[in-house]
Every structure is written in C-alpha cells, then in structure tokens.
C-alpha cells in the first residue's frame, strides 16, 4: 500500500498551489514588487479578482455582510471560494468580521495600475540600439528549439550538444530523470518524466522553475527574491531589450540560469542586454502560451472511433510520447499508425499519466481534419479511456485509525455521530461496534472522547470507555492502527 501512496506523487507544476504553501511573511516581501502583484493577481479566480479590485480603492475594511451584499444570494458558495483563494494568497486579510486588503499589496498594485512605482519595477530598457538586435520570430525559434532539445534529451534522443548542466541538474533533482552513471548520457527518464512530457509547455516550464526555487537556498539565494525575479521576467515585453545593469547580484545569477533554460535570450555571457522569450512572457497567463507557441505547428493526430490512431509525424519526440499510451503497429517514413488498447492505456496510467492528460494531449494535437468535428475526439474513445482510468482508481488511500472495544452502545454511538459530524468517519460497524476514523480527525475525536469521559466521570464517577485507541500503536496490530479505507 505504501507503494501505492508514493506513486500518487505528481510533478509539482502549479505555481498557484506552490504560492499557497508559502508563509505570510514571504508574501509581504513578494508584494513589494508591482510586477509580482500583477502576476499573482492574475492567478486568482475571476470572482476573487473582482472582489480585490472593488476593495482596491476602498478606504475602510469591509464586513462579511457587506461582501455578501455584493453578490447574488445564489452565489454565496462562489463568494466563499473566492474569499478563500484571495485569503490564501494573502490578498485579503480577515480580522474578526472585517476584511481588508493586504496593505503592501494595495499600495504596490495601485502603483502598478497608475505607473508610479519605483523606477525599475517593470524593467529598464536597454539604451541605444543593439548592433545584434533580434526580432520576435528569432526569439520564438530560440525558445522553441531550446526547449525541444531538452525534451528530446529526456526521451533519449541525444543531439550533438547536451542541455546545459544546470538543466540536467534540475531534471535529475526533480525526479524527472534518474542517474545511472556519471556521464550526462547516463540519465534515463523516470515515470514522472513521462508524465511531464505530456504536459503543455507552460506547465513544464513551471515544473522546472519550481524545482529550481526549491534549490536556490543551497545556492545562497532567498526564494522570494528569485520568485520576484521570475514574476518580473514574466511582466516584460516580448521583443524588447532590457538592460542588465540595474539588476542585483541575485538577479544577475538567476538570469544566467534563465538563459540556460531558454527563458531569456542573451547573446553572450557578458552581454549588457537581455531579451525575454515567449517562455517568460507567457508564464503567468494560463493557457495562452500553448496556443501561441504551437500555432505554427499544425496538429498531427487522427483518432478514429475504432481506437485506431494515425499520426503524421517524423518527430522522434512525438512518437516517443505517443508510445506512452498507444500500441504502435506500423511505422512509415511520414506517419505512424497505432491502436489504443486497454493494455496501452493501463501502461500509461501505471506511469501516473492521467486519462485527462492523455485526452488533453490528443485534443491539443488533433489534426485539422479532426478539429472540424465537434467534439474533436470520438466520444467512445474518450469515455473508454476515462472508464479504464476509473477501473484503476477504485481505491483511494486514507491514513486512518481503527477504534474498537466500546463498553456500551451509547458510547459507540456518541463517538460515531461526532466523527460523522466532523466528516471524519470512514467506516463503522453498528453490530460489532468499531469505527475507522481519518487520521487527521482523530485528534479532535480523542479530545472529544476525553471531555465526554470526564463529564461522565464527574457525574457517575465511573469510567466507562474502554480503549479509545492510544496513539502510536504498532502498525498491523489490532487496536488503534493505520488502516486503509476503501471507497
């Protein structure tokens, strides 16, 4: 079972969920930069954005009642969700019944909107003309070939030049590749690496950046400085040259690594100007990155209702990706043919690739002929892939505690009802009087038990409850033990 639990781990590629884990003080530092304010603000759900905007120029705090009056009565659940998001990213601060905007954020965001921030908050354009100036097409090509060479390296297609050592280091640290020897060529792709391949470019870039963030402490840099710099890069204008002279030491170091990733273009290591590529400028705008970067590249996959798949491609990378979830039967110079089978999908699922990722990949890479139909992919195939996944996921794993040997029915029921009321009950038996309680709820159930017992002891001075599971019992033994709930 432990194996099952660990296999659920996926590559972290969502900046919003990463930010939610950060402590409040970090946000205080982050929101000192208008560029970061803007970028993080864009990560919010729509309704949260509206709430923040409404409060931006309000001088007094707002009560919960007032917030509710801003919304339709039918939208209260949306409101709660919106408030929760805004609160977790430290935009809104709740004090009792009052809500107010984070003061640092308010100030800097107002600066961003009115353009009154510190002189370099959105970059300092390089002065004079560049004798080696580059255009947007060049930058796109630079970013694309750079990124594809990384992906090709991952699937084992080694070109004449390996990716930058910094990139290789990150690929290895993030568990996308495993080292079998000392040479760069000794890196092999892992399960999560395959999963990584199916994601869109934006998620891939974030996955590497987040890994990079987790490593910067070892390099002697502060995470919030680096994060600020990444958000800063994302707010720059594509096709403009920016000056490196105003950058701090940390920023200059990070910039070198960003050049290695292809996020930033710099002609020479000592060049005084840098150009952000599309990988940088689309970091914080959701799905637009894929559409823009792949617009010149037409889709290549045809999928039929009989589960046959035809892919017009010569790219080894694309074929390698297809092989993850398709049984390739024929291969011709310009196209490959394969079948999607239960086995091929299960093989992919075992590598932690989700059905949604497969469907997403097929949809984004569908051939123009397929795009004319609606829905793009045949429904039978899509449904079947989802069903196969559900077959695999009949088990969910919860850490839990087993509580048994209740002396009286009354006590059993009191505890059962309490556990149910806090949504902590996984399973119970009314005939044999045992409960399975979620591990995270166990503490509160135990406290409750103790309180009830004391009350009764006070009343009857007679102890009643038997074994309400002392913590730390050995696994496998009966009593309070880690159990796997099945649902």
């Amino acid at each position: 079972m432990n194996e099952l639990i660990s296999s659920r781990k996926t590559v972290q590629n969502d900046i919003a969920s990463h930010l939610r884990e950060l402590p409040a003080e970090t946000f205080h530092k982050l929101y000192r930069e208008p560029a970061t304010c803007l970028a993080v603000f864009r990560l919010l759900p729509q309704l949260s954005k509206q709430l923040v905007m409404r409060m931006l120029y309000l001088r007094q705090p707002v009560t919960t009642d007032e917030l509710q009056s801003w919304c339709q009565p039918t939208a209260y659940s949306f409101l709660e969700n919106a408030l929760d998001h805004a609160q977790r990213l430290q935009f809104l601060v709740q004090q009792g019944d009052m809500w107010h905007l984070n003061t640092t954020f308010r100030e800097e965001f107002q600066n961003a909107l009115t353009g009154r921030g510190p002189a370099t908050s959105f970059g300092s354009l390089a002065e004079g003309t560049d004798s080696h100036s580059v255009d947007v097409a060049f930058l796109d090509n630079y970013a694309k070939t750079g990124w594809e060479s990384v992906l090709q390296f991952m699937v084992g297609q080694r070109g004449e030049r390996n990716p930058h050592p910094a990139v290789l280091n990150i690929l290895e640290k993030s568990g996308l590749m495993e080292r079998t020897g000392l040479q760069p060529a000794d890196l092999v792709i892992t399960h999560s690496g395959f999963q990584f391949l199916l994601q869109d470019i934006n998620s891939q870039v974030w996955a590497l950046l987040l890994q990079y963030l987790s490593m910067v402490k070892d390099l002697g840099m502060e995470e919030d400085d680096v994060l600020n710099f990444i958000f800063f890069l994302s707010s720059l204008e594509l096709g403009s040259a920016y000056s490196t002279e105003v950058l701090t030491e940390t920023q200059a170091t990070v910039l070198m690594d960003m050049v290695a990733f292809g996020i930033v273009y710099r002609r020479k290591k000592k060049s005084k100007r840098f150009y952000p590529t599309r990988l940088a400028t689309t970091l914080t705008n959701g799905k637009a990155a894929i559409r823009q970067t792949e617009s010149e590249q037409e889709g290549y996959i045809l999928l039929e209702t009989n589960y046959r798949l035809y892919a017009y491609t010569t790219s080894e990378l694309q074929i390698a990706i297809l092989k993850l979830f398709v049984d390739i039967t024929f291969r011709f110079p310009t196209f490959v043919m394969g079948v999607i089978t239960r086995e091929s999908i299960e093989r992919a699922l075992k590598k932690n690739i989700t059905a949604e990722q497969i469907i997403q990949y097929l949809t984004t890479n569908a051939h123009p002929l397929m795009r004319k139909t609606s829905p793009i992919l045949p429904l039978t195939v899509v449904d079947q892939i989802r069903l196969w996944e559900m077959d695999m996921n009949r088990f969910t794993v919860h850490a839990a505690r087993h509580v048994w040997q209740f002396p009286t029915r009354d006590e059993y029921e009191t505890l059962r009802n309490y556990a149910k009321s806090i949504n902590g009950l996984l399973a119970c038996s009314d005939t044999r009087w045992w409960l399975v309680i979620k591990a995270e709820s166990f503490q509160s159930v135990a406290t409750y038990t103790r309180r009830i017992m004391e009350q009764r002891r006070a009343r009857k001075s007679r102890s009643a409850l038997g074994a309400a599971a002392a913590a730390g019992a050995a696994a496998g033994a009966p009593g309070s033990t880690d159990a796997d709930g099945m649902h």
Binding site: A112, L113, S121, F122, S240, A288
Partner: protein, 338 residues
C-alpha cells in the same frame, strides 16, 4: 415597447418587430455555452469603451472649485480603470472609440508612432502604451473637431454616439468571429441626447441586443433617455453620476466585471427607465405620438402618408384631439405609445 421594437422594421426584415424579442432570449445561452468552454481561469473578454469627446459637454461645471478640467479628472480615472481591466487577464482585449460632435474615431488600438516605443520603465508596458495612445488620440480628435467647428466648439453639447457605437459593434463582430470572447461595451458620456440620431442609435442598440453585447452606460451630469434604453434593452447597467470625483469606485464596482462574472454579482439595476422615443418627423422626444401601424414609425403630428413605408392613412373622422390614438391604416388597427 411596441414602438421601439418596430423601429428596425423599415430596414430589417419584416418579421423583426414581432419575433425579435423571443429569439433574442434564446441567444445568450448559446453564446455563453461556447464562451465558457474553457476553465474559469482563461476567460478572455473584450471591452470597448466609447468616450464622449464633445468639448462643450466637458467644460468645467460651476459646482466644482478645482482648476483641472472635468475631462482630465475623468480621463485619469478612466485610465486606471482600463489598466485594471487589462490586469484581470493577460489576454483581455481593449478598444477605445472617441465620439466627437461630428466624427468618431478609434483611439485605441492604433498603430503607435515609432517614437512612442521609448517606454517609461516604471509602468507595465501594456498599461503605458494604452494610456499614451488614448491621450494622444483624444487630443487629436478634439483638435480636429475644433478645426472643423471653429470657435464655438465649447458650445457643442452633442456627440455622435450612433457612429461610435456602430464602429464598436463592427469591431466586436470582427474580433469575436473566430474566437470565443465575451464582449461588453461601456459608454462614458456627458453630453445631451441628440434626437436627430434617434433612429440610427436605436438601430445600433438593437444590433447590440441581437449580438448579445451588453451596453453599460456611465452618464455624467443628467440622465439620457436613449442611453437608459440602450442599457435596459441590452442587459447592461445604467449609472447616472453628477460628480466625476468618485468615478473610479463606480467604474471598478459596476463596469469592471465581464459578463461571465456578472451573474454572480449584485449590480445596480435601473428602477425606472424612460422609454420615450423621438419622433421621426421633427426629432423631438415625445411622450405621446402617432405610430404607423405597418412599420411602427413614430410621428408627433398626424400625417396622411407614412414617411418611412409610404403607407397611406385614411383621414380621421373626428378632429385630432389628444395624442395617443394611432394612425389607422387600411384595416384600421390602432396603436398607442407607451
């Protein structure tokens, strides 16, 4: 109501008057469905702002004791609002159209002059460029107006909203043809109604209704009958303000949410809408008038032949006393103004 819906009849199909409303009811749901295909996060919207550029309407009012012109106050706040809109989503699109007394012009997007590419580094590029283009655009438009009109430019209190609105709708139509983008229009106006533009304006309003584009109206200094109807018919919000000082708060609260979020928000609703129409013969706003029973044209006086559809009306038997009785045509159907 009948009179207004009928106005598109002379130009549109003959069925528009009667079937217009029900078919429109079905419209929004279809469009919404296709627009919300993506997740909540990547909801891109297009905002078109029509700004009243009639110089006379913006002359500083007596009530205000600060030096800055009213237009300056409004523009400063409008710029922040536009930036806020662009800040909502990286892909949000924006268009600005200035409506002068005689002409209307795109203020943004416009190809930026080459020398403008020197950006001020404290501002986000997109914000900076929008605001810059807007400011120069307005200045150009007003200079041109002044050149056309001579010295009495300050006395002009009317603006050509119909022309600006039709430009906005054409632009929206072009942009949204092949991408699912929800559009909303915002009219910021300070000038009076122009009854001469009544028919043209109503036609644009009905086109907006048909295209499911809400028209929001922010009307400064006094109410506008036509714009009230525009907001009401298209499902937009009408807001009348007397003082532009707190404009930004109103803009942020009421006009910023894109149509997809509005269903969750409590927005101001018009308690009373002035449904009066302007007559076709003298372009005056009338409370009671005569309505052609064939094409629903509105007249303030009885006439023997409908100027729009050339229907001949029989002479009334009694003398024409009070208004409110419609012209009888052929069959003798009657209609009354609301």
């Amino acid at each position: 109501m009948a009179a207004e819906e009928g106005l598109i009849k002379p130009r549109g199909s003959s069925k528009a008057g009667s079937t217009g409303t029900p078919s429109l009811r079905g419209g929004p749901s279809v469009t919404t469905a296709s627009a919300v295909v993506g997740s909540d996060g990547d909801d891109v919207s297009l905002l078109i702002v029509v700004l009243d550029c009639a110089a006379g309407a913006w002359v500083p009012r007596q009530s205000n004791n600060h030096d800055i012109g009213e237009l300056g106050t409004v523009l400063d706040q409008l710029c922040v609002f536009l930036n806020a809109f662009l800040a909502l989503n990286h892909d949000n699109m924006l268009a600005l159209i200035g409506a002068g007394a005689t002409t209307s012009d795109f203020l943004y997007p416009r190809p930026a002059p080459p020398d403008q590419h020197l950006a001020r580094s404290t501002a986000y590029q997109q914000f900076f460029q929008t605001n810059n283009t807007l400011m120069t655009g307005i200045k150009n438009l007003m200079d041109r107006e002044a050149a056309n009109m001579g010295n009495d430019v300050d006395t002009i209190l009317h603006c050509n909203l119909a022309s600006a609105l039709s430009k906005a709708l054409c632009y929206a139509n072009r942009l949204t043809k092949d991408q699912p983008v929800r559009t909303h229009l915002l009219v910021v106006s300070a000038s009076h109604d122009t009854p001469a533009h009544y028919v043209a304006l109503m036609n644009t309003i009905f086109s907006a209704q048909k295209a499911d584009i809400p028209i929001d109206v922010c009307k400064l200094y006094g109410d506008s009958v036509f714009l009230q109807q525009a907001a009401h018919l298209t499902g937009g919000v009408y807001l009348g303000l007397d003082d532009p000082m707190g404009l930004i708060q109103h803009l942020m609260f009421t006009f910023l949410p894109p149509p997809t979020v509005r269903k969750h928000l409590a927005l101001p609703t018009a308690t009373r809408v002035d449904f009066r129409a302007a007559c076709f013969c003298h372009q005056q706003i009338v409370s009671e008038g005569f309505v052609c029973s064939v094409c629903l044209s509105v007249y303030c006086k009885w006439r023997p032949v409908c100027a729009t559809c050339k229907t001949k009306f029989p002479f009334p038997k009694s003398t024409m006393g009070g208004g409110g009785v419609g012209l009888a045509a052929d069959g003798g159907a009657t209609g009354a103004m609301v």
